[in-house]
């Protein structure tokens, strides 16, 4: 090697007019990575909030109408879509964190466990302020296929098996209900022998219901038990700390 390799390198720098990249470019790249990691962490935490909301508001008290096993009911009605979303975003947090300047210093399991812990803590917080409910409802209201593909909703799209879920469109003078299910099909619900779980005031147009009973005609359902789809927000918070 040439004794003055430094001068050779300098000559090349001058000849090719090379200069150091500005600091802001590196800072910007760093901020973007951190921003992406934080955004993914927040989305993951929202997924946790929805998972908690769905689990706490699952129809545990009506499980025997769906299946004979409590555990089987739990397994079949878990919010897999949200769990998948959580796993995906935990993976993205991991990926982004590893690409920060000092991300390589942490071992896989430290980042993974750390991300899960922070997501759960933030998720509980988001659930407490009602984000879990708001997000689940917003998706159910705006995406027609959301309920059709969500296991905890799908269980209630089986009128033939005595389970029906939907939104109250009208209530007639006799107190009978018209209900629209997630496929847009209108049902006439006979509530003459019904047992109401929860506050009866929830039976009003626009409310979402679960109905247990039997299908008596093509679009007619005789209700034995009705309950609101989800507990009111205040009760949810109490359920969390009970």
């Amino acid at each position: 090697m040439d004794d003055n390799f430094g001068q050779e390198v300098l000559k090349k720098i001058e000849r090719d007019e090379i200069s150091p990249e500005p600091k802001w470019k590196f800072l910007l790249a760093d901020y973007i990575i951190w921003l992406l990691a934080t955004a993914c962490l927040l989305v993951g935490s929202l997924a946790v909030a929805v998972i908690i909301f769905i689990i706490f508001n699952n129809d545990w008290d009506l499980y025997h109408n769906a299946t004979s096993s409590f555990w089987w009911f739990g397994l079949t009605s878990l919010p897999y879509l949200w769990i998948l979303l959580l796993v995906l975003f935990v993976g993205l947090v991991f990926h982004n964190f590893r690409h920060t300047k000092s991300g390589y210093r942490y071992r896989f399991h430290s980042i993974f466990i750390g991300t899960i812990i922070v997501s759960v803590i933030l998720g509980i917080l988001f659930y407490g302020i009602g984000f879990g409910r708001a997000l689940e409802r917003a998706l159910a209201d705006s995406l027609p296929f959301y309920e059709r593909f969500s296991p905890h909703h799908r269980l209630w799209q089986m009128a033939g098996e005595g389970r029906l879920g939907g939104i109250i469109t009208t209530i007639d003078n006799q107190g009978n209900i018209r209900l629209r299910d997630s496929f847009g099909r209108e049902w006439h619900i006979n509530i003459s022998q019904v047992e109401v779980i929860g506050d009866p005031n929830f039976i009003r147009p626009g409310q979402r219901l679960r109905v247990v009973g039997r299908q008596v005609d093509e679009d007619e359902f005789e209700a034995l038990v009705i309950k609101p789809l989800f507990a009111p927000p205040r009760r949810q918070l109490m359920m969390l700390f009970r």
């Binding site: 090697m1 003055n4 590196f26």
Partner: protein
């Protein structure tokens, strides 16, 4: 032009700051690391002297371009070795060659260091033929050879190796331990 300047009194990090104000100072950093890095590149890439010098020039140019990205939590030496390591790996990719051999010159020091290193001495008979040890090292996976090279030839500590290879310190410690274990297994077999 830099006049009346004594680079020996300046740390690498100070030279980086000076270079950002005046590029002439960069030559001191280059001269401080060119021989060490050249030896390192030749060992891990197997390139000839001329190709290694070209690669070395690319490494310094890349370092110069990225000076504003130098992370002051690291030693400059770790940072420049990281660039060298990545550049060698890129070079392997460009040539579509898998990194394989590390060229351990027949230098008794490495064996002394390796054999003197805590538990390896208990597993390896120190009278074993030097050639056999080199052959055993050659049979190790590249990831093991790479950490042994940085630990025993470049004499880097675990934190520095972690910063160069961008792996957690714990992973580096496991790699070195496994490398030593595999080396003693190889030697026992032979």
């Amino acid at each position: 032009m830099v006049i009346n300047f004594i680079p020996e009194g300046k740390t690498d990090e100070e030279l980086v700051q000076l270079t950002l104000k005046n590029k002439e100072f960069f030559s001191y950093l280059v001269n401080r690391y060119s021989i060490k890095l050249s030896r390192y590149i030749i060992r891990i890439s197997g390139l000839g002297r001329e190709d290694a010098d070209d690669l070395l020039q690319d490494i310094f140019i890349k370092a110069y371009k990225n000076l504003n990205n130098f992370d002051r939590r690291l030693k400059f030496s770790s940072w420049i070795y990281r660039i060298a390591h990545n550049q060698v790996i890129d070079n392997f990719r460009r040539r579509r060659v898998r990194p394989g051999q590390i060229y351990w010159e027949d230098n008794g020091n490495i064996l002394v260091k390796l054999l003197a290193d805590d538990d390896v001495i208990q597993r390896i008979d120190s009278q074993i033929d030097r050639r056999k040890i080199y052959q055993a090292i050659e049979r190790l996976d590249y990831k093991y050879k790479e950490v042994l090279e940085l630990r025993f030839l470049e004499e880097r500590n675990y934190q520095e190796i972690s910063d160069i290879l961008k792996k957690p310190v714990g992973t580096i410690a496991s790699l070195i331990n496994r490398a030593k274990l595999k080396l003693s297994e190889q030697l026992n077999k032979s």
